[in-house]
């Protein structure tokens, strides 16, 4: 029962966070800027502008606009784009969200698939060649700007060698370079954690016991050691979700990847406020929900963490 209470509380908190984000986004995009001027174009008459203000409800007081906005929101209506024939924002986002998800997932898979084996190998042979390689990679990965790495990889692997396309999202090849650029930072973080965790755990009594039982080294390392060392990694994965989504914005711009991040940047350039609002709300809601679920999942992974102490 306590678990369900915790889950409900955490979801409620996530909901409150989203509500505040929604309000902030609404305020920022309404109180500043001059959308009617933009929508009407440079040589619009005053009547045109009045007509547009009337049509989009921009004449109402800010409170009424806010109320309308919230009312539409709970019905799943996030408004219509101001540019490009007034398509429903939520539909445009839906199309793009899958691409952003794909990119983020690929980046995470890349990060884990390279960082964990390398981190374990580095920890088992401290001071060896693998260890040096792993540590160098971690240090570089944390210092290299993702967008610069992306551009360099486009230059070498797409322009020069022609192995991958320079941008877009057609085929699995298009996913490789953006996923590596986006996942580099996470890879560095995960590897450092895996390495230090493994070094610590391999010194403990239960590893000595496992060895004394005569278990094969493989089992000792993977079943007993790694499982323990993965705890802090899981914690970091929760935080990396937010970082991946934030990072995807810039990587999507570099690789012309048709995701939500690029949609937001493009919409900001075009002053398409409803689109910006809707996309930011969708992203913020996904991150809050993910964070809440990660918090809850700690209780499964590590019984020592009590709900109150998170």
């Amino acid at each position: 029962m306590q678990f369900w209470n915790f889950l409900a509380l955490r979801l409620l908190q996530a909901f409150a966070v989203v509500f505040i984000v929604v309000t902030l986004v609404f305020l920022v995009s309404r109180l500043v800027g001059n959308p009617e001027q933009f929508l009407a174009g440079p040589d619009a008459t005053n009547e045109d502008i009045e007509g547009i203000k009337e049509r989009f409800g921009l004449n109402d007081s800010i409170l009424v606009q806010y109320g309308d906005f919230l009312g539409d929101l709970v019905q799943g209506d996030l408004g219509y784009s101001w540019v490009g024939g007034g398509v429903s924002t939520i539909d445009s986002i839906g199309d793009r969200a899958w691409n952003t998800f794909k990119l983020g997932a690929a980046a995470l898979v890349f990060a884990i698939a390279t960082a964990v084996p390398l981190g374990v190998a580095a920890a088992l042979r401290r001071g060896g060649a693998t260890d040096w390689l792993a540590r160098a990679l971690a240090v570089v990965g944390q210092a290299v700007p993702g967008f610069w790495l992306g551009l360099m990889m486009i230059f070498f692997f797409a322009v020069d060698l022609g192995w991958f396309p320079t941008g877009g999202a057609v085929g699995w090849r298009a996913l490789v370079l953006p996923a590596i650029s986006l996942g580099m930072l996470e890879m560095a973080a995960i590897m450092r954690l895996t390495r230090s965790g493994m070094i610590e755990v391999m010194d403990t009594d239960f590893i000595r016991t496992a060895r004394a039982k005569g278990l094969p080294e493989r089992t000792v390392v993977l079943r007993h050691g790694l499982r323990h060392a993965m705890l802090p990694v899981v914690t970091v994965l929760g935080l990396s979700l937010g970082r991946l989504i934030a990072g995807s914005v810039i990587i999507e711009v570099v690789f012309a990847w048709p995701g939500v991040g690029r949609l937001i940047i493009d919409s900001i350039v075009r002053s398409d406020y409803p689109m910006v609002q809707a996309a930011i709300i969708v992203l913020a809601a996904s991150i809050s929900l993910a964070n809440a679920l990660v918090d809850v999942s700690y209780r499964f992974i590590d019984p020592r963490i009590r709900a109150g102490s998170i």
């Binding site: 966070v17 505040i20 210092a143 230059f155 322009v159 989504i245 934030a246 900001i268 992203l283």
Partner: protein, 297 residues
């Protein structure tokens, strides 16, 4: 007799200790040197630059650096408008330095205050403050930064404000966690028993114990802030178009990647070296001051 013993014993012991001390600081020598060079370049960019970083000379456009067949007139070559890249890199260092000096201490003060109060008070106030941190984490900072940047227009001041909003939560989470554990310690209870108030305890007992953590996070944040400024400038919502900034130089180099490798490599390397230095110093400080924090990042 006793004196003899010390006389024969002392030198090797002292010697060993001195050597060990030296070795402790040896790891810091390289990053510290780079940091000093970076600060020096940033502070005296105007004096060190051979040229006006924004002087356009189309006749001299796309000249390679001196080690790739260029001339000493432009040691690091020129960009597509014939501007001197060395001067632009030096002025870019200045932008990064200003941003770091404004953002890192500012965010540390805001984040530490919020974390300290949240950890000490707990309850409703603490919860509200932590939800504030959650909002900051849930709202993709870069999106908000781009939104604000596009509304208020690119300017150095806006970059600083945006990065302050972006980075304070890194401190508040850790400080709160530490404050919660310090709160229960005997010396705090003792202080409370003799009638000390909350502000006094936070300032005299919690803050000094937290300072290590804050300093470590500040050092590690240097790289994050510099890379974030570059990212914003790269997206066109950072520093204004006339300013030489490493991020902006990389954006401008995008279309010339094939003809002029130096345009994109040099600012990229500058960014990487400085970020790398910040991380190394942060790691060193963390190991020296507080090994428990090793799993923070």
């Amino acid at each position: 007799m006793a004196q003899d013993a010390t006389a024969t014993l002392a030198p090797p012991v002292l010697e060993r200790r001195r050597r060990r001390n030296w070795r402790r600081y040896a790891g810091l020598s390289v990053p510290a040197t780079i940091a000093v060079v970076f600060i020096f370049c940033g502070a005296f960019a105007g004096l060190l630059s051979p040229d006006d970083p924004n002087f356009i000379s189309l006749a001299e456009r796309l000249q390679p650096p001196v080690f790739d067949g260029g001339s000493w007139d432009h040691p690091l070559g020129t960009d597509d408008l014939g501007r001197d890249i060395l001067s632009r890199i030096l002025h870019g260092a200045q932008v990064s330095l200003i941003v770091v000096l404004a953002v890192v201490p500012g965010a540390a003060v805001i984040g530490t205050t919020i974390g300290l109060v949240a950890g000490w008070r707990g309850g409703l106030v603490g919860n509200l403050l932590m939800r504030l941190t959650d909002i900051q984490l849930a709202l993709p900072s870069i999106l908000f930064a781009v939104l604000l940047g596009s509304i208020f227009g690119p300017s150095l001041r806006n970059v600083i404000i945006i990065l302050l909003l972006w980075t304070w939560s890194a401190y508040s989470r850790l400080v709160r966690a530490e404050a919660i554990s310090l709160r229960e310690r005997d010396f705090v209870t003792a202080s409370r028993a003799v009638g000390a108030g909350g502000v006094w305890i936070m300032r005299k007992h919690l803050l000094p114990n937290l300072l290590n953590t804050v300093v470590i996070v500040m050092t590690l944040e240097v790289a994050i802030v510099i890379l974030a400024e570059a990212a914003l400038s790269f997206l066109g919502v950072g520093v204004p178009a006339g300013t030489a900034s490493w991020g902006r130089m990389i954006t401008e180099a995008r279309t010339f990647m094939v003809q002029a490798w130096w345009m994109i490599w040099l600012p990229g390397i500058a960014l990487m070296v400085v970020a790398f230095t910040g991380n190394l110093m942060g790691d060193w400080l963390r190991d020296a001051l507080d090994p428990r924090l090793r799993n923070v990042r």
